[in-house]
Symmetry: D2
Subunit: 339 residues, 4 copies
């Protein structure tokens, strides 16, 4: 931590800061500047919110953290990229780009089977579909719950595609883990720490979505929650942040890809469906995500979007998805990767 | 819903929209504009995400909702302001402004008792304190849990102040409700729908904080989750939203007070401590909140902020809190209210 | 500046940084941390963007500025609050709260005279009104220009109220200054540096509005532009920032009042009309602004808002303004100030 | 416009609205809903802010615009993509991707010549460089002004590369136009309407940057200002918007590409240098921009970024730029375009 003193702060104010730094177990180091002093507090600052409280001391202008607050997720701790294994034949984080596709919500056996067959035919390697749906309105369709999980498993049996589905409650997380190949933490639960700890204790890979108002550093802190419970199989997912712009449902922050690649060894997947909220924009944003270096994509595909129970406006039809996958392969090749 | 067609949309496109509106159980009504047609879909649009999916149809420019999606929280359903009863002698929502004060986290018996005595002496009517702490870092202090609840109950016994404390997990919510007078849903759990449903089933008043990226409409939808489970005792809390400004930890949106007063009968409380993140700004923002019509305040007060385990930078010392309470009374009187 | 090196940065990387710091005229000071080194660059860092470019050097994690980049606007340079003189009998920044009121745009002699008489009767000390209007659409009413300035002068002659009006172009700024008592820089021109320099050279007080995406620090930098040209009579104005919330036209950031009071000696005025965009919210936000310590208010009042050529939705009618002014006085008194 | 009445609004309130709609020259059309009435006001609503003022009428809930407020920039008016001619041999908007590259500011003859030669060698088709610099601080380097323009012209003579440079003041715009091939309106002047009108009157192509808090619709309105003065040669530029995320200087909104392609015929160029503020992120974001369909890129390249007078942290070195251009060509080919 760097403690910046006010210009003209009294010596006794500085002494109080120095004493407090020592009490907290740090070594201090003073730099005398031209108009003010700056004090370095040397030591591991992770997990020490106490230093931040020095801002309350008289004569202190502000307190600047130096270290990143995450460890396990950090490139400093693990330099090589992580490969998250989904099944015996599928991993996320290598030179193969992984596409997860399927409907927002599982609605019926026919719908999920039709979706799974279609996305497999076009080259998707995983199926997505919600059985527990976190909906803004209590009056909206909340998902088929366990019945939905069973239908997803049936689609997997038929197609061989492993599936990812959302967990929304620590109480039902074990049940979801019994069926699913990968557990999704949705944007609205990205700082639901009870749920993060729970999936950290389960032996399944996790797809962790960034919250709508979450900084990249906070996303890595949420990953750290899962990892600190023992589960290192975390894949990060950018799905749009909330800004003033209303032409898109969210603002898809593709620069999160290189930023994350410079800070963490965890793979990064992009969700252009929620990221834009409009099926017209999903295709070009998918191309852009691959060109920017994303390790994968998660895309909503629905056989009949106009009749979808949720998020129809952002779902691709299978035919459009198929065309997209063909061109996506060209971008992957231009980047020296496969799909 | 209003469906805006594209300029020059084909007749067959419009026919598909009209047919789909009928299928969904609505009556349609076409307005022929100078450059395009606009179609009204008449009927209760709450809980009908399906209409939004019409944006996916050919020839449709966009779909505009007309009705507010909440019912129970709405002024249209209940015109008189709600008074939420906390104890036999204390309610929130009337002409008396209610101040909840205390430390961010319960740290020890001595600390919570000292805090409770101090805030009571200055006129606070409720005690606040966290036993389960949702911390950004897994390495930060996570709270004393049930031990903290016991200490809060002890402080209540001693001072007569009812207390509000946070619930973070459906699995421990019953236990918290056994001790607390009011359950707080924190900003990071404001769209944790499993938790909202759970507190909706418990017989305790709820203090529902606005999430950092939550619109006022979404805040009311989260209240609706609680209310639709049978619990009408909901108090809303504005605690700052996330913006580009970094001079404050969050941007306290005081205009939420009159906006909410125009939409809901539920009381509104302001949290200037999290809203600004800096104890220097808590005092003027408390005055402003009362002048703008807030029904109450929730304020962090710590006997020794520099040694606080969390949020020390935004906590008031008891002496400063005391001075503030005296002046706050003058603003309350100017507004024809009491404290 | 504080230069944070990467963990494990090579000695030669550090040497390059140290050499570069010396070249730029700073003294360096190294703190050896537990995982990385931190280098302080000692010297006046204002106006030295060059140091920021050190981020481009190999082995550098990031560069943190320590000093505020403004001088003349800073409390460090001038400790007592500035009183900006508008006329022989009116100043902004003392214990009297100054209210500027009037229509968004000057539309006709009748309209501006009627407005001036009404706001004076209710206690406003200044008239506001736009003659040059910066409108988002080229097809909207752009103002009466010099004719509007003449009408404002006529209203001043009749009522004795000095007036503030906007300048939008360096080419017409002299002309506006010939008529007006105070020059307004609008939110959209808050970083129009050519215009800022121009009004810095004119001998008239300036009302400088915060831009929609402007940090408080940038607002002070724009004030610095005006002051560095020789004009110290600057009044800052918070008028709402752009956020994700759409219930209000902007999000009025009242915490800017105490933040600015802690950084600058310049007076602060609040614009609740543009800050909320809705006349229903103007009244409570005006009360809140005064309670938070604002030095003044600028409020849109129109005799016939439904027929206003611009911003009718946020304009108060004279009768509502009159009721507000009476209650505002009670809040001013509670704060020990006058109006 | 759609005027939404409050639930239970009185008949006389509705009558006032209907009368006012008629006065404004519109035809009204009432839809009787289940809980409230909705009134369509039929007619050209562009430039009619007056309708918005109906929100001030008793019984009105809100007013929703239907039409886009721009005409000349709209796809509805001109369906085929615009090709903006820069020189006899270079145009923006066709199947060739145009790269503009060079330093943030012109610093010396040697620097701009070296830059121009380098970027040309790597395949850039235009030179960029600032002669008038809009700097946040009055104490920062403000550019070489006319001397800088002369050096840019010299670099053009030597290399054949046309150049784009910023205009910041209507008073000096003619002078800039005498030298430059394309005039840039910077983000901070994106709603400086006096400047927009001025460049609308000059016969040079304009590169219009999006402001930091500007919606896509507002960007098109600013283009409309230029076009309504007679200059149709407008190229739009996305350069990052301001959000809560601080890991990047701005948040580059690449989804603006498909959104704009769906609304306007004007070409779209991406500025990944300002959009991210960090040279590490410029390369992947350039690839992403091309994959998403951008018509061009504007990139900061400096022969010696660590010594740059401004924006060194986001400037590429020529060698890195050269590598990027080679790979960029592969992405362009994957998209069926040239460079």
């Amino acid at each position: 931590m760097i403690i910046v003193m006010k210009a003209g702060a009294a010596k006794r104010d500085k002494d109080v800061v120095l004493r407090r730094i020592k009490e907290l177990g740090y070594t201090s180091h003073v730099i005398h500047g031209t108009t003010r002093d700056v004090i370095g507090a040397i030591g591991d600052e992770r997990g020490k919110a106490a230093l931040q409280a020095l801002e309350n001391l008289h004569g202190v202008e502000n307190v600047l953290p130096i270290l990143q607050p995450y460890k396990l997720a950090s490139l400093e701790v693990k330099k090589e990229s992580s490969i998250v294994k989904i099944s015996d034949t599928l991993s996320i984080g290598g030179s193969q780009i992984v596409v997860m596709a399927g409907p927002c919500a599982v609605e019926s056996e026919e719908q999920i089977i039709e979706s799974a067959l279609a996305v497999k035919k076009s080259g998707a390697q995983m199926l997505r579909g919600g059985a527990f749906k976190p909906r803004t309105s209590p009056y909206s369709f909340q998902g088929l719950e366990e019945e939905g999980l069973k239908l997803l498993a049936k689609a997997r049996d038929l197609t061989g595609l492993p599936f990812v589905t959302e967990v929304i409650n620590p109480e039902t997380a074990d049940m979801v883990a019994d069926y699913a190949d990968m557990l999704q933490i949705g944007a609205r639960n990205s700082q639901n720490f009870a749920l993060l700890k729970k999936v950290g204790q389960l032996g399944k890979p996790v797809l962790l979505k960034r919250g709508m108002a979450m900084t990249i550093q906070e996303l890595l802190m949420s990953a750290e929650y899962i990892m600190s419970e023992g589960n290192q199989s975390v894949v990060l997912c950018e799905r749009g942040i909330r800004t003033f712009e209303t032409a898109t449902r969210n603002t898809l922050d593709l620069s999160a890809i290189p930023v994350l690649k410079g800070k963490t060894h965890l793979p990064i997947v992009i969700d252009p469906s929620h990221g834009t909220g409009n099926h017209h924009y999903v295709v070009p944003m998918s191309y852009a995500a691959v060109a920017a270096g994303a390790d994968g994509l998660i895309i909503e595909v629905h056989p009949d979007p106009e009749h979808a129970s949720s998020d129809g406006a952002q779902s691709l039809k299978p035919a459009k998805f198929d065309v997209m996958m063909q061109k996506l392969r060209l971008f992957a090749e231009a980047d020296g990767r496969t799909m």
